[in-house]
């Protein structure tokens, strides 16, 4: 490019370098830079981000050192052991199993499912929204009717019914079942933005020059709404933590031998546990609250970064 330019113009190489530098200084900063400066300006957000990342890393690595089947064995000696003792940091449940260890493995399972669910359902929702918003007319109409139908289904009930039908399931099948029902929010958001974006001149110009539909959708429109996608993924990640834990709490999520934050909170269903043996369920409940709040706080900061009028951080 530069060589080409030199042949046809009389600007010297030094001038060209200077002009390029000036242009780069004036150009809109990259998304990553904006997000970083936004986090630097907002200390609580930085704290939330550090808490989330270090906590997720801690449970992911910590769970590797815990032998789950051995941990889940009944140990009568530890029957409702008090918390804050040397052997049981957070006490033990009715089967004498360490609550602290269950919490680590359970967090790994719950967070893992939430991440998987976010990746699958957001990918699907984004594609659905992009295609539905870009192709107006019959395709959009048909896809909207399917969307309406999905919105009508009582989600929790349908998931419970599907979980009972499938004889053997693990966290992977569970993630897929959840994903069937949790793409609607993303798809609606992306569709409405794509509708607005398709009206713009660059799309019309690209169409006129013969670019294929798929290239316009995924290489031109999608990068332009990427900040929206990042924000939406973060916020749905926070919501998705509640999905699996809620179902596990009811007893239709992960099987009882696989610890999850939800099954641990289900200990509270026993009137004795809820009052006398609070340590069997309260840590899991508090952990969910802290996680959800910090993740959505980070999401709010990302949303601010995506909207130039709300930014608090300065770039330079």
């Amino acid at each position: 490019m530069a060589e080409n330019f030199e042949q046809h113009s009389d600007i010297s190489a030094a001038d060209l370098a200077r002009l390029t530098q000036e242009a780069q200084a004036e150009a809109t900063p990259s998304t990553a830079k904006i997000i970083w400066s936004e986090f630097k300006a907002d200390k609580p957000a930085m704290a939330a981000l550090i808490i989330i990342v270090s906590f997720i890393l801690f449970v992911m690595i910590g769970a590797l050192f815990i032998n789950t089947p051995k941990m889940m064995e009944t140990n009568i000696m530890g029957y409702f052991n008090q918390p804050f003792t040397a052997d049981y940091w957070l006490g033990a449940d009715s089967a004498g199993r360490s609550v602290a260890k269950q919490l680590i493995v359970g967090s790994r399972n719950s967070i893992g499912i939430a991440i998987g669910l976010t990746v699958i359902s957001s990918t699907f929702g984004i594609c659905w929204g992009l295609i539905s918003g870009y192709f107006n007319g019959y395709i959009d109409w048909g896809m909207q009717r399917i969307y309406d139908f999905m919105m009508m289904l009582p989600m929790t009930m349908m998931i419970i019914v599907l979980v009972t039908i499938i004889p053997h399931y693990n966290s992977v099948t569970l993630t897929f079942i959840f994903s069937i029902f949790y793409w609607e929010g993303t798809s609606r958001l992306i569709r409405s933005r794509t509708l607005a974006e398709s009206e713009k001149d660059y799309v019309a110009a690209s169409k006129a020059s013969g670019t294929s539909h798929w290239k316009i959708i995924f290489r031109e429109i999608m990068p332009n709404i990427s900040s929206l996608i990042i924000v939406d993924c973060t916020l749905s990640f926070a919501e998705n933590i509640g999905v699996e834990t809620g179902l596990s709490y009811l007893g239709f999520g992960l099987p009882s031998q696989t610890p999850s934050l939800g099954t641990m909170i289900a200990n509270a269903n026993d009137p004795n546990n809820i009052t006398q043996y609070w340590w069997t369920w309260l840590p899991a409940a508090l952990e969910i609250i802290v996680l959800c709040l910090s993740i959505s706080y980070v999401g709010q900061v990302l949303r601010r970064a995506a909207d130039a009028s709300q930014r608090q951080g300065s770039i330079n």
Binding site: M151, V161, S296
Partner: protein, 319 residues
């Protein structure tokens, strides 16, 4: 206007039909057969075989589906295999409980949300606005079942202010006492649901108030010398009331879907708890009926909201 409503109704019909087929097939796919509970363990396999045959359980699925639909229109949803009583009567008893709770929660939600929304919009950008926004944001983020568990722990068990199970105390006599006891039982779940479900109404009302603050009719009222308080109460609030009322439909569908959690935590005998129990007993006539009812209620709630919104806002009408 009528065109929009009519078109929405016409789209509803195939949706309900597809839902009923889906629900029926899913119930068929569930493990276990319906006679396991109704006959004693020593029953002859041939007899079960015979029962299955006369009840049409060996017919092709479309035949069975058709029979089911015909019965449905006669108001016959079959018998519950767990409770040995007609599903319509079983659900009828529970539905009232669920609907009371949902209605009560919704009214409380409006009671909390309306003043907050107007107040936040009026003091936009100032401290009260920030406090209300943080509050709605925090309540929105936390999964609702965690709130229910912590709420029942603190207020039900530790402080002992509220009952923790059932919909009525066993020693309630006389209609006044009965009514009071019922109300007492829905108070805590209702309050929790309302305090943690205000986000949509508050946010909508807040932006509505901020928009109308700068509109012409408010400026006219101000120049006439109407006091600021009355402008908010009579002019702005009245104008935002109808779209806010439209949220009732969405709100009720949300509450019904949440009823599974609320009723499980509070052991409140409504449709949600009935569903959870029926799943464990594979009582699939009840399961089918409940999924269908919830689907149709979802549809009606959304339809109501959409119709009210399209009356208020001509932009979203179908041409």
């Amino acid at each position: 206007m009528w065109k929009t409503i009519l078109r929405r109704f016409l789209i509803m019909i195939p949706e309900v039909i597809i839902l009923s087929i889906l629900v029926f097939l899913l119930a068929k796919a569930m493990p276990g057969d319906p006679f396991t509970g109704s006959i004693n363990p020593k029953a002859d396999p041939a007899q079960i075989h015979h029962l299955m045959k006369i009840n049409g359980l060996y017919d092709p699925w479309y035949q069975q589906y058709w029979n089911w639909v015909v019965h449905l229109f006669h108001g016959n949803l079959g018998n519950s295999y767990q409770y040995q009583e007609p599903v319509t009567r079983l659900i009828g008893g529970r539905a009232a409980n669920t609907l009371w709770l949902a209605l009560f929660t919704m009214i409380l939600t409006y009671v909390f949300a309306l003043p907050m929304g107007v107040y936040a919009g009026r003091h936009e950008g100032k401290l009260p606005d920030t406090v209300i926004r943080v509050y709605t944001y925090v309540t929105y983020c936390i999964p609702f079942f965690v709130i229910l568990v912590i709420g029942i722990w603190i207020f039900g068990y530790v402080l002992g202010w509220f009952p923790t199970t059932g919909s009525i105390s066993s020693d309630a006599t006389g209609w006044l006492h009965t009514l009071g006891s019922r109300f007492y039982h829905i108070l805590l779940p209702g309050l929790l649901g309302a305090l943690f479900g205000t986000v949509n109404i508050v946010q909508y009302l807040r932006s509505e108030v901020i928009d109308s603050k700068h509109s012409d009719y408010v400026r006219t009222a101000r120049s006439k010398g109407v006091p600021s308080k009355d402008i908010y109460r009579h002019h702005i609030f009245r104008n935002s009331l109808l779209p806010i009322a439209a949220f009732a439909g969405y709100s009720i569908t949300g509450l019904l879907n949440g009823s599974i959690f609320t009723e499980t935590v509070f052991s409140y005998p409504g449709m949600g708890l009935l569903f959870v129990n029926s799943i464990s007993y594979r009582d699939y006539t009840v399961i089918t009926a409940l999924v269908l009812i919830y689907g149709i209620l979802n549809l009606i709630g959304t339809l109501l909201s959409d119709i009210i919104l399209s009356i208020v806002d001509p932009r979203i009408r179908i041409q």
